[in-house]
Amino acid sequence: MLKQIEGSHGVAEAVALCRPEVICAYPISPQTHIVEALGEMVKSGELAPCEFINVESEFSAMSVAIGASAAGARAYTATASQGLLYMVEAMFNAAGLGLPIVMTVANRAIGAPINIWNDHSDSMSQRDCGWIQLFAENNQEALDLHIQAFRLGEELSLPVMVCMDGFILTHAYERLDLPTREQVAAYLPPYEPRQVLDPREPVSIGAMVGPEAFAEVRYLAHAKQMQALELIPQHAREFQRIFGRDSGGLVRGYRTEDAATIVVALGSVLGTIKDTVDEMREQGHRIGVLGVTSFRPFPLAEVRRILAPAQRVVVLEKALAVGIGGILSANVRMALSGVQLHGYTVIAGLGGRPITRKSLHKLFREAERDELEPLTFLDLDWNLVNRVLEREKQRRRSGPIAETILRDVGVVGARVG
C-alpha cells in the first residue's frame, strides 16, 4: 500500500512486519523515531508477541540483543553515532558469535566536535567488525533492506546493519510502498537458529579459543561473508518476485555503459548524483554512477566489472580516514588492482554539509579534465582553514580549534541552505 510517511516510520513498519520478538534500544538522534514507533506498536499490542526492553545504554542494547538472539529470539535494535561507538565491544561479540541481529544505523557524524548531522563516520568505524553492512539509497530501499536483512542474517547466522542517512532519510517524508503481512511471511521464514541456548539441550556459546583454532573461527566468519556475496543477489531476485520491486543487491550501476567517468558512492547522495549525471548526459558528457549497496561484504568482482572499462573513477564519500583520505576509495582501488585508470577521492558531506548539484557539476567537470587532486574536500572553506593554520603558526596557545573556527564563521542561524 502506498503511503506518504516519514522514513523512520516506514522502517518501523517494515521491522514490525518481520515479527521481531525482542527489541531493545537506547534513544539517540536521528534514530529515535524508529524505535519510538516500534515501542508504540508493542505497547498497543499491534506487534505481538514482542518484548520491548528499555536499556540504560547502547552497550546494554547490543548485549540484550545478543542474549535474546542466543536464546532463539529474532532481535532488533537501532542506533547512531556515539551510540554505535558505545556498543563496539558487543558489536564484535555479536559478529564473532554469529548471532543474526538486525540493526539500523541512522548514519550520523562522530564527535569531537559534537555534531548531530549526517555522514558515514559511525558505520565506517565498524566496517571490519564482522557485521554485514547494507546502505540504502532512499527510504523505499531502507524499508526493503530491513526485510532482506533478517532473511540474509538468519540464513548465514550473521548480524546485519542497515545504514540509512540520518535526517536526510530518517526524517524525510516520501512515498513508500508498504508490503503486506502475507508478502513478508512468504519471503521471510520463521527464525530457525543454528545455535540456541535451550535448557532441554544445553550448550555453551562463547568459548575461549586459543592459537590452535582462532584463525579457523575467524576464517569461517570471512567465508560466511563470501557466501553473502552469492546470497544477496539471489535474495534481491526473490524479493522482486514477491514484492515486485528491484531492491537491494550488491551494486547498482546507472548509465555506466560507455561511461568514461564513473562516480562511486554510498547511500542517499546517489540520488543527487544521478540527477547531476542526467543533466550532464544531456550535454553529451559520458558519465555514470555506481552505487554500492553491500559495503560488507565488499563486492570486488562486480565493482571491477563495472569500473574497469572506464577511464576514470571518482569515489565520493561521506567519511574521512584521517591520515590517508578515503575508506570506500581504498576498497574500490583494491577492486581495480592492476587496472590502469585515473582515481580520485572526494570527501563530501561531512557533519551534514549539503552536497549540491552545483558543486557536483563543477567537481565532475574537473574530474573529466583530470584536474582534480587525488584527494579533494568538496566545498572546503580554505579561508577558514588557513586562518586557523596561520594562528597556530603565530601563537603557541592558539586555543581550541572548534571554538576558534566557530567565532570566525559567525552566526549560522541566518543561513538558509
Binding site: 517524508y173 540527477d275 549540491t356
Partner: protein, 195 residues
Amino acid sequence: MFQIRLHGRGGQGVVTGAEMLSIAAFLQGRHAQAFPSFGSERTGAPVVAYCRIDDKEIRLREPIMEPDALIIQDPTLLHQVDLFSGLKPRDGYILINTTRSFDELGIADFVSGFRPARLCTVPATELAVKHVGRPLPNAALLGGFAAVTGLLELKSVAAAIRDKFSGRVAEANVAAATAAYETVRQEMKEAASHA
C-alpha cells in the same frame, strides 16, 4: 518540479507544515518529498523546512536553494534571516503570515518585480487562535498556499491535516485552513477586479 521553502521558528509547526504539504500532494497522486533543515530545534530559533512536488520520483537530496514558493510563518524573521535567498525572480510565490501589508513590512521595494497575484499575506496566527485556540499558524498557511498557487486543492490540504492530527484538533485546523483559503481567494478576487 515545484519547490517550497518554509521559514518559521521552533514550536510553530514549520516541519509539520512541510510534511502536510507533501501529504496533500501525495493525495493528489503526485510525488512529494518533505524534510527539515535539521539542527537548531529550539523553541523560538529560526527553522527551515522544505517540500518538493513533482510528477516523477524525487531523487534530489540537496536543500532547496532556489524555491518556487516561500511560506513565511513568522514575519519577525524578515530582517534577521536571508529568507528570500534564491527565490525565483518574478515568478516566485511569497506567502507571509501577517496582518500587515508588504508595504508595512518594509519589503515593497524588494517584491516590486514579482507578479502581484503571487504575493500574498494571511493572518494565519489570528485564524489559528480563533479556530484552534493556539497561535500555531501552519495549517492556516497551507490553506492560503492552496488558494494562491492553485497547486493543491483545499480538500487535499484538509485530508493532510486529518492525517497528521485527529479529532477536535484536526477539525479546528481544517477550519483555520478553510478560513485562510477563503480569505486569500477573496483578496485575489478583489485584486483582480482592481487590475
